[in-house]
Subunit: 316 residues, 2 copies
Amino acid sequence: MNETRRAVLDALADGPVTGPALAEDHGISRTAVWKHVEALREAGFEVESASEGYTLAGVPEYGAEAVEFGLDAPFDVEYYDDLPSTNDRARELAIEGASDVVVLADQQTGGRGRRGREWSSPSGGVWMSLVLRPDVPPARAPLVTLAAAVAVTDAALEAGVDAAIKWPNDCIVPREDAERGGDKLAGVLTEMKGEASRVSWVVVGVGVNVNVDPEELGPDATSVRAEAGDVERRVFVQRVLERFHEVRDDPDAVLDAWRDRAATLGQRVRVETANGDVVGDAVDVTEHGALVVETADGRKVVHAGDCQHLRPADGG
Amino acid sequence: MNETRRAVLDALADGPVTGPALAEDHGISRTAVWKHVEALREAGFEVESASEGYTLAGVPEYGAEAVEFGLDAPFDVEYYDDLPSTNDRARELAIEGASDVVVLADQQTGGRGRRGREWSSPSGGVWMSLVLRPDVPPARAPLVTLAAAVAVTDAALEAGVDAAIKWPNDCIVPREDAERGGDKLAGVLTEMKGEASRVSWVVVGVGVNVNVDPEELGPDATSVRAEAGDVERRVFVQRVLERFHEVRDDPDAVLDAWRDRAATLGQRVRVETANGDVVGDAVDVTEHGALVVETADGRKVVHAGDCQHLRPADGG
């Protein structure tokens, strides 16, 4: 949405306001006012027109304008009904030089998780990718993943879901008896391009099972619908973006928030790495996104791997 | 060069060897032997043919086959007489999935340094880019840059040049009276693509002023020619690749070798960073490629910036 249309929309929300008043307040012609109102109606906003002026009477359920309306964070939104992968589109935008743009799709037909794994993304979920250009070295880029995990977890908690972070990049609903610590609610997949000393762009893909049935997803998956009932996706996305924006420039805030929400810390874990399994107690996360594990052979710092939460009796 | 041609070439180097013997030893037809010999002649190898068999009598000055012949490191080489940028071609290969491939050009028409700066790359220099797929997190990728700087410096030292490393990514010939610590001999430019926890590829661009006149380069530049006379570029490239391969999988070896060769450590420096100048004594480098500076306000870790070596009397 361009700046003027956004301003007109805000005025309608505070309405009623007449066409001539809108024209004068925004320095545009009455014809331009009419065009903005029609475009907003086209995008799904209900605009009532009466003798005392225009009033906003309804907001579209989802879409670029719906998410941008009332969003308290500086992101532009691109929306698609379906897309093979929001990360693919975001990568194109990143290469073209975009910054602080969000690519949103109602469904993805070729969604992917970490290491190219399939990721089911039916209509009703939140599938989005953020294009960012943080001025940090690559070593600090993992903080972006941690910040996104914090933001998604907070949005899920606000929706009434008992959500927690599972290292490295998942949001789960913990279960006492689950093999892998709990059922998967969301995942974060970060891609980056950079020089040795500076990131040129980061694309953070976020997939959240929101208003979908767990049966539509893979095994060990859950959804906001299953845990707490359907929510407005528009508002859910806004909360994720606002929370992400609040913490993203403060590494200490990100790390503290991540630790607070982490189901993995304090757990006995088995991490399958390229160099074999690491088994021990997960005690911390580093600013490079690595998990710190106390093992029988001492403290190990694990950068990548699949993590199982073990029951106290297991492993060792 | 394919495996068989490489094996035939090695046999010729140990020659004389007859066509029938080559055919039998390598399980190929006599026609195939003849084709390999012709292809090697085409690539510039002198192959003498006499009654006692074939003998290798000369090696081409430069090129893919020339560098691969006798190379004690597992790299395939692609050679171009000129190319806009070896990094651009290497990036294409990386995206296609290549690994341990070296792109080499006699000259570059659009060479670039760090942060998009112009980089003069006339014929006679060594302009090359390595395509690598190290199994490391992005936080460890800067070690690749450090390893390349070590390798270039060692090749220059072997050529008789009094070379040293200047943080973050240059190789210089130190001068007592120089503004920036010395004259520039070589630079390393690393690009990477990855997920948050794992690098997918790294392209290391290496530019060395070898057999060129300093007048062809920018200000404050020098060359192997100016310092110690011309060298065989073929051998120079082989030394860089072999030395790089020796150290690349051993972070401690890379860091120790870097520290030994660093002109920057022990110097009083001014580093211009995005957040202002950092002035103090450069005391160490981290595994993330950052410079550790003792300042009047305590120890600072600088990830990126332009670094000046100050005379003891200068600066703050």
